[in-house]
């Protein structure tokens, strides 16, 4: 009996102490930006849609069912880019870092879906999957305060020559500097990260073959893309196999 009471009090005290120290620790944190950002100095790349099986796209262009999931994922992903959702966003000056350090309420720059051209899903509801020209959206991870230098753009290559023709939207896979820097979830609530759509026009000879694509971010000295250990830092590799 006494021993139970003792442990009740003892653990109660420890729990209170734990809560108190955690509370003190949390008080020292800002709700806007994390204290340190040194573990993510350079952003990773990611694609949408993202197949469950290790970034490999398998589909039959004549079988709607086989790519239905990709299409719906893309549609869902682009919902937040819909014009109706971007009413509060402003048009920023392209090609320039949009510094808002002095402003209390950070504005988000508008990203027009039309920039994605054929991959915007407006003209082709199947994002090119039915035509054998599937679209993949490439995005750069959000990092608070990151200001890319130079002219960052996405460039993709295929190991197998001549199997696929790659088109970029916006042209040259440009990522506009006006979308940077990011100010964090609470200050920059409506922020939309810039996207680059990669359209893969697969050569009709190359159907049934697995095509390995690697996309990298180029043109910016402060965005790494050659890290030995982190295969997603400024680059991403995926495979596409299309049948008819």
């Amino acid at each position: 009996g006494l021993i139970l009471l003792f442990y009740l009090v003892f653990y109660g005290f420890l729990a209170a102490l734990f809560t108190f120290t955690m509370w003190v620790m949390l008080q020292t944190l800002s709700s806007d930006i994390p204290k340190y950002r040194d573990r993510i100095s350079s952003p990773g790349l990611m694609i949408s849609p993202k197949p469950d099986t290790a970034l490999e796209f398998y589909f039959n262009k004549s079988d709607v069912q086989s790519y239905a999931e990709y299409v719906s994922t893309l549609r869902k992903f682009l919902e937040s880019y819909d014009d109706s959702k971007q009413s509060q966003n402003i048009n920023c000056t392209p090609g320039r870092i949009f510094d808002q350090n002095d402003v209390a309420v950070k504005k988000a720059c508008r990203f027009n879906l039309s920039e994605l051209g054929q991959c915007s899903g407006k003209e082709d509801k199947t994002f090119g999957y039915s035509k054998g020209t599937p679209c993949v959206l490439v995005k750069m991870n959000r990092i608070i305060g990151l200001k890319p230098e130079g002219e960052p753009h996405i460039h993709c290559t295929s190991k197998e020559e001549g199997m696929v023709e790659i088109n970029y939207f916006p042209p040259d896979g440009l990522i506009d500097l006006m979308y940077f820097p990011y100010y964090g979830k609470s200050l920059h609530a409506h922020y939309l990260q810039p996207l680059v759509a990669v359209q893969l026009a697969i050569n009709s000879n190359s159907t049934k073959e697995e095509i390995a694509i690697e996309c990298k971010i180029l043109g910016s000295p402060n965005l790494k893309n050659e890290d030995d250990r982190d295969k997603f830092l400024g680059r991403i590799a995926f495979k596409v196999q299309m049948t008819e």
Partner: protein
């Protein structure tokens, strides 16, 4: 059964095909050697090295770690077959675990081998030579080459090279003490005197020594077939008991393994029912096992024990078996030899009686003067007799040695007398030279006296001086006068009565008493040229003048009484077991305190109350002197009764075989028994005892082999210092284990919370190994250097059944209190690291699956930033490092609180044990090297850590210290209270 002692010399010649004059031919001898093997004792069968090594590989926690390694490899195999991305982690983990087992195994094996080697050097003997007649020639041969039928010659000082049937002897005496424990030399002749080959005079036994005289004999047994060889093989039949510390460690291993397995299995079931994959559950299981097993602890215990063993070796206790270090500490009964162990093993003059008065002499080891009154002229006369009537001489060339250390040629009593007079009078040899000896009758057992006639050193006195010493009653018979204060007075009945009283008193003290008398031969009857003839005794040997008595004893070592009283206060019963006469044994027992001044034996009570012994209430007697003859007829119950009812026991006239019975009797009472011994026949008792102690100087090789410990100086007092060290190491091992177990919880909790709350893993398996085998090793060894908290020699020996090394309180306090506090401190650091990088605690709950997914490279944190898998892993390793550093910091506090179990740290002194600070420094240094030096080696999962994270756990470390001080304060303040019972380990 041997019949050789009954055969005549010619029958023996026939039986063994030899000749007493010519011996065997070399060819025949070679044949027999090939048939019988060399004449040496087969050493006890040693366990093959590889078996010893493998035993280390599977003992203790090794099995658990092997299981962990096997699981790692299995999961690697499964992952590899499934083609997962980084399956090599588990392969490496398995290899690391296997390496840990192998390395700690090698370490333990090396430690054991090292302590065995110390002993091996002991048993190496100089090859013995024997003088053999072969091919009708005398040859020196190595004793190993002797065969049955060889004719060997032995002389005084030789060790008997085999069992020999004597065919020619001249004044031959042998010392059979190594065989029978009888320390008196026994004469040997060619006559068949007893049916029993062990008792008959015409056989000399292997490994005994010839003290004086010469002899020739036929070898009748060699090697293992000798009497001693048969006893030695008997000793190896006595089972080796497990040492108390081995039992304790086993108990502890079971406890920890039990906790590890039950928590492991419990969480395996929990994780499976939480729909984790089986493979993941297995990996969790490995983590739990690794966190639970104190990998470095058994090595630490070995090191601590060997440190103590070294310390004990400096104090003349050489420990053969590391675990025996602690056994000595838990000893509750010491069965000690008398001669050499409790006593100095040399006769010394203890008392004198002259002028109707008893004087005591100094018997200490390093006497340089004698304090008693030497002014009486009776003493002058007595000292002259003692000096002159003595055949013992110092060996030349020892003038610079202290008198007591000089080697003397002569028997024990004469040696004692020589040294005694040398101390008082100085240069005895020149006194003898000045008083030239003209005739002498040496001591023999029929007339029981020794006589010599000298010229005097007074040039004016032409008389001869006849001096005589011998058995007091025989001397008195020959006297008609007695010297009192330098004057001869007639020996009337009153004076004879005084003599009797003194004689009884000295004899009652167990001392060997000698009487001394003299006579100045009248000058007219015995002129210068008088031809003294010792055969016809043409001089008076009666009507002499009695001068005085001297009594001798083998006195106790001066350190022994103190050591015995220490044993008494330490609750250790000291039992004397000796082959000596009960009176002598009792006298020594009284003088060293084995029988205390106030206690009485049954016989004493009977004498005091003047009633027959049978009527005495045996319970009233605290002391008992048991004769070996009585012991022989006793039933086990009677022996148990004696051992139970008497706290002070002396066994006298016991044979070494009876020692075994006494040891077994004590063990039946539940005692941990230490036994000292030196003879070959002691080896069964030494083996049977919980700790056998062999004498380093007087001990035979067989005894040293059978013993667990060798007493280098043969001194009982050394045993007591050994006991003290043994008790200290038990306490300190408790501290070491408590220290080590504590952080197991801080290593285990992360896994449990990881499984239940699905947070990113707070600490990795490899990191845990770095704590267990890295930062924690030196501090836990440092606790072995801790001084005792109180006088450990003032408490009773620990109860084997109740006072465990790892008791419930220790486990509970370490696991459920300090361990949990450490975990809380480490978790605060963990959450701080994650929160300051962007993952608030609330975000971390339940993220495990996504967090660990290789496919998710845009994992969002609390601030909307996105992380790749590798960035998350790097953060996770930073978490490991922070958790590791927090445990290390709190282990510093843990180390400091473990210095004491009851006293405040300030009572104990924070800086008295310098090694603790070496430990703390090493801990911090190793942690710094791992974090900053190896922080870039990915496989080790350490990352450079922000400096401030080292201090997050500091408040918790201080809390641990303060809490423990409060615990100790309450324990001291309220002994016996609920708190004391539950919190004192």
């Amino acid at each position: 059964i041997q019949e050789d002692h009954k055969l005549s010399a010619s029958e023996l010649e026939e039986k063994y095909g030899t000749s007493t004059n010519k011996g065997l031919s070399s060819a025949r001898a070679a044949e027999i050697l090939a048939r019988d093997g060399p004449n040496s004792l087969t050493p006890p069968k040693a366990t093959p090295e590889i078996v010893k090594f493998l035993k280390q590989m599977v003992g203790g926690f090794s099995i658990l770690l092997w299981i962990g390694a096997a699981f790692s490899w299995i999961s690697f195999g499964i992952q590899f077959a499934q083609g997962a991305e980084s399956p090599f982690d588990n392969l490496y983990l398995g290899v690391v675990l296997a390496l840990v087992v192998i390395l700690t195994g090698i370490f333990a094996y090396y430690q054991e081998a090292k302590s065995t080697n110390i002993m091996a050097s002991f048993s190496k003997m100089i090859p013995q030579q024997a003088l053999v007649i072969r091919d009708a020639e005398k040859k020196e041969l190595p004793a190993e080459e002797l065969v049955v039928g060889d004719i060997v010659e032995i002389k005084g000082g030789d060790r008997i090279p085999a069992d020999i049937r004597l065919i020619f002897t001249q004044g031959c005496k042998v010392d059979n003490s190594s065989l029978t424990g009888e320390s008196e030399p026994q004469s040997r002749s060619c006559d068949f005197t007893h049916e029993n080959p062990l008792e008959t005079k015409n056989i000399a036994f292997y490994s005994t020594t010839c003290v004086e005289g010469t002899a020739t004999g036929i070898v009748i047994n060699t090697g293992d077939r000798t009497v001693i060889g048969r006893i030695a093989s008997l000793a190896s039949g006595v089972g080796n008991e497990k040492t108390p510390i081995a039992i304790e460690i086993e108990h502890f291993v079971y406890l920890v393994a039990g906790v590890a397995i039950s928590i492991g299995v419990l969480f395996f079931i929990i994780s499976v029912s939480m729909r984790y994959k089986i493979l993941d559950s297995i990996i969790f299981l490995i983590g739990i096992i690794v966190a639970n097993v104190p990998e470095g602890l058994l090595a630490t215990v070995t090191v601590s024990l060997s440190l103590t063993a070294k310390r004990m070796a400096k104090k003349n206790c050489l420990v053969k078996n590391l675990e025996a270090v602690e056994t000595l500490g838990s000893t509750s009964v010491i069965c000690s030899d008398k001669t050499g162990t409790l006593t100095q093993n040399r006769m010394t003059v203890a008392h004198l009686w002259f002028d109707n008065q008893i004087y005591s002499a100094d018997t200490s080891e390093d006497q340089t003067t004698q304090p008693f009154d030497q002014t009486s002229s009776t003493w002058t006369a007595l000292s002259k007799i003692v000096t002159l009537c003595n055949r013992a001489e110092f060996r030349p060339g020892q003038e610079n040695l202290p008198i007591m250390k000089r080697i003397v040629v002569g028997d024990a009593s004469e040696t004692a007398l020589l040294k005694f007079t040398e101390v008082i009078l100085g240069d005895v040899m020149s006194i003898r030279a000045r008083n030239k000896k003209v005739a002498e009758i040496p001591f023999n057992s029929t007339n029981k006296f020794q006589l010599s006639i000298h010229e005097t050193d007074d040039p004016n006195d032409k008389r001869f001086l006849l001096v005589m010493k011998g058995a007091p009653e025989r001397i008195l018979e020959r006297c008609s006068t007695i010297m009192i204060n330098g004057k001869e007075e007639p020996l009337d009945s009153e004076k004879a009565e005084a003599f009797q009283t003194a004689y009884m008193e000295l004899g009652g003290m167990g001392e060997r008493v000698l009487g001394f008398c003299h006579l100045y031969l009248p000058e007219n009857e015995f002129p210068d040229t008088y031809p003294f003839d010792t055969d016809s005794m043409n001089f008076p040997t009666s009507n002499l003048c009695f001068v005085g008595l001297l009594s001798m004893i083998d006195p106790p070592r001066s350190t022994v009484p103190d050591a015995v009283s220490k044993c008494r206060s330490a609750g250790i019963k000291v039992i004397m077991v000796t082959g000596d006469h009960p009176i002598t044994a009792k006298a020594i027992a009284k003088s060293v305190g084995i029988i205390s001044a106030t206690s009485e034996t049954v016989e004493d009570i009977a004498k005091r109350l003047n009633i027959p012994v049978e009527q005495v209430n045996r319970r009233e007697a605290t002391a008992a002197v048991v004769n070996g003859m009585e012991l022989k007829d006793m039933s086990l119950q009677q022996l148990d009764e004696i051992l139970c009812n008497h706290s002070e026991i002396v066994f006298a006239r016991t044979s070494p075989q009876q020692k075994l019975i006494i040891v077994e009797g004590c063990q039946r009472q539940g005692a941990v028994v230490a036994v000292t011994g030196d003879g070959v026949n002691d080896s069964p008792a030494l083996k049977k005892a919980d700790i056998g102690i062999a004498m380093g100087i007087a001990g035979s090789d067989a005894a040293k082999n059978a013993a667990d410990m060798v007493l280098l100086d043969d001194n009982f007092a050394s045993i007591v210092t050994g006991v003290e060290e043994g008790r200290l190491i038990f306490d300190n091992l408790k501290k070491t284990i408590a220290y080590t177990l504590t952080k197991n919880i801080a290593e285990l909790c992360p896994f449990l919370i990881y499984i239940i709350a699905s947070i990113p893993l707070p600490i990795g398996t490899i990191t845990i190994l770095f704590i267990d085998l890295g930062t924690d090793i030196i501090p836990s060894v440092a606790l072995a250097y801790e001084k005792a908290e109180s006088d450990i020699m003032n408490r009773r020996p620990r109860n084997k059944r109740r006072d465990r090394l790892v008791n419930e309180q220790l486990a509970v306090y370490s696991y459920l209190q300090i361990g949990i506090m450490q975990s809380v401190g480490a978790f605060v650091t963990y959450f701080t690291v994650y929160a300051e990088q962007g993952f608030l605690p609330s975000t971390l709950l339940g993220v495990r699956v996504n967090w660990e997914s290789n496919a998710i490279n845009d994992f969002e944190d609390s601030y909307g930033q996105e992380w790749t898998k590798y960035q998350r892993m790097y953060l996770q390793w930073t978490g490991y490092t922070a958790f590791f550093v927090s445990i290390t910091i709190q282990q510093v506090a843990d180390l400091i609180i473990r210095k004491t179990r009851r006293n405040s740290i300030f009572q104990q002194g924070l800086f008295r044990n310098k090694v603790i600070w070496v430990g703390i420094f090493s801990q911090i240094a190793i942690a710094s090297i791992l974090t900053y030096g190896l922080g870039h080696v990915t496989a080790l999962n350490f990352t450079p850590l922000r400096f401030q994270y080292w201090f997050v756990a500091v408040p918790f470390a201080i809390l641990i210290w303060v809490y423990d001080e409060v615990r100790k304060l309450l324990i001291r303040r309220y002994p016996g209270s609920w708190w004391d019972k539950n919190m004192y380990y």
